[in-house]
């Protein structure tokens, strides 16, 4: 395969990954890495580097809309970025000496969990009475515009959420993904932030988190321009199309189908990792 053909294949794959990732809420990075490593036999280091760049592009693009609409909790995001960036620097450092087979197994496990979580929607339980002194002190309690005016919510369990975000940052730096699923666990389940606000805030944080590990990746040569170019552009365009279709498309059955594909990819990654094929 020549570089021209290879680039076109990558662009097409990335476009579909970005589209499906945005329609299902799983994100593009989650399928880009298995696509590159399993299908196209690209070394996992290059795959992680290209995926990380695509994650910055899509999260920044999506975040800009949410931030303008006032759905993003800016202070909550900025506060938790302290946890995710610290984790991301550590994760990128780990990636430089962990064997690729171990990285593949961890990736498979995270992929499995993310697909599983995408099938279940945790119902919102909005707290209106501010109970946490820390969240009041940090001005984390927020509000966002919703159908019936403004929904206000209080943030709980700040320290628990902070540590979960730290883990999300480590995973993001290690695997080159946004680790949106872990961020949702931290904000929805632990801190009781409503789904809409937590996914907008998670998007907001992903770019900065990823940027924290880029420096280390660049110096190690993980980020190959020729490979990253079609991936970044493809995922970005796919995610943009997905966000335009989101309100018209029926995503229920698509979500299940996509989750099945991701489950299969997860198992393949784990299998390849255990047999040292990656």
């Amino acid at each position: 395969m020549t570089i021209l053909l290879f680039t076109l294949v990558l662009f097409g794959g990335a476009l579909i990954a970005g589209l499906l990732g945005s329609l299902t809420g799983l994100g593009g990075g989650v399928v880009i890495i298995p696509l590159l490593t399993i299908v196209l036999k690209v070394d996992i280091h290059y795959a992680i580097g290209a995926s990380l760049m695509s994650v910055i592009a899509t999260s920044s693009g999506a975040a800009s809309a949410y931030v303008k609409e006032g759905i993003t909790n800016l202070r909550l995001g900025m506060f938790l970025e302290l946890a995710t960036t610290l984790g991301a620097v550590g994760g990128a450092w780990l990636a430089t000496f962990l064997p690729t087979s171990v990285i593949a197994v961890i990736f498979g496990a995270i992929l499995f969990g993310s697909a599983f979580m995408s099938l279940f929607h945790i119902p919102d339980h909005i707290e209106t009475r501010p109970q946490s002194r820390l969240s009041r002190k940090l001005k984390l309690n927020g509000s966002y515009p919703s159908g019936e005016g403004t929904t206000s919510y209080a943030v709980r369990n700040v320290i628990g959420g902070f540590f979960m975000m730290n883990l999300a940052g480590i995973i993001s730096g290690l695997l080159g993904i946004g680790s949106g699923a872990l961020k949702v666990i931290a904000m929805d389940s632990i801190m009781h932030v409503p789904f809409k606000a937590s996914s907008a805030t998670s998007n907001f944080m992903i770019g900065v988190t990823a940027a924290a590990s880029v420096g280390i990746y660049l110096r190690r040569g993980y980020i190959d321009p020729g490979l990253s170019m079609p991936i970044v552009l493809g995922v970005l365009i796919g995610a943009f199309l997905g966000s335009k279709m989101l309100f018209t498309a029926k995503t229920g059955s698509l979500k299940k189908l996509f989750a099945l594909v991701v489950f299969a990819l997860a198992l393949e990654m784990i299998y390849n990792g255990l047999h040292h094929k990656i």
């Binding site: 920044s60 280390i216 970044v232």
Partner: protein
């Protein structure tokens, strides 16, 4: 009164940050696409070699070299420049919020955002 002030300050910061992110991604994409066109024109008929990882070969001077090479129309360097603009976008966003919190005299968040900025930049230095 203070809460309404904080709200309007936050929503103004939201607008500025939103525009910054959008334009950053847009400019980066255009640069990457330009570099990609050059790259495919010159190397499109060659064969890729991504199966084996060449550990840190072009490591240390990659950023400074890319500026010089990009001026000579080297596709890969132009793409890298675009990718650097892409990475700079969220970093600029933190820098903008540092200024925002300074103007708001919110010293707790000024400190927090400065710390995040330091962590992110440290990744490029160490």
């Amino acid at each position: 009164m203070t809460t309404t002030n904080q709200k309007s300050d936050d929503s103004r910061m939201g607008k500025i940050i939103g525009n910054l992110l959008r334009f950053g991604v847009l400019i980066a994409s255009v640069i990457v696409l330009t570099g990609g066109t050059f790259y495919l024109f010159r190397h499109g008929k060659e064969y890729p070699h991504y199966r084996k990882f060449a550990a840190g070969s072009q490591a240390t001077s990659i950023i400074s070299n890319s500026f010089a090479d990009a001026l000579h129309g080297k596709g890969r360097s132009i793409i890298l420049l675009g990718l650097l603009v892409l990475v700079a976008t969220p970093i600029m966003r933190i820098a903008a919020s540092v200024i925002g919190y300074l103007l708001e005299k919110d010293y707790l968040y000024l400190l927090l955002t400065l710390a995040v900025l330091a962590i992110v930049i440290s990744g490029f230095w160490s």
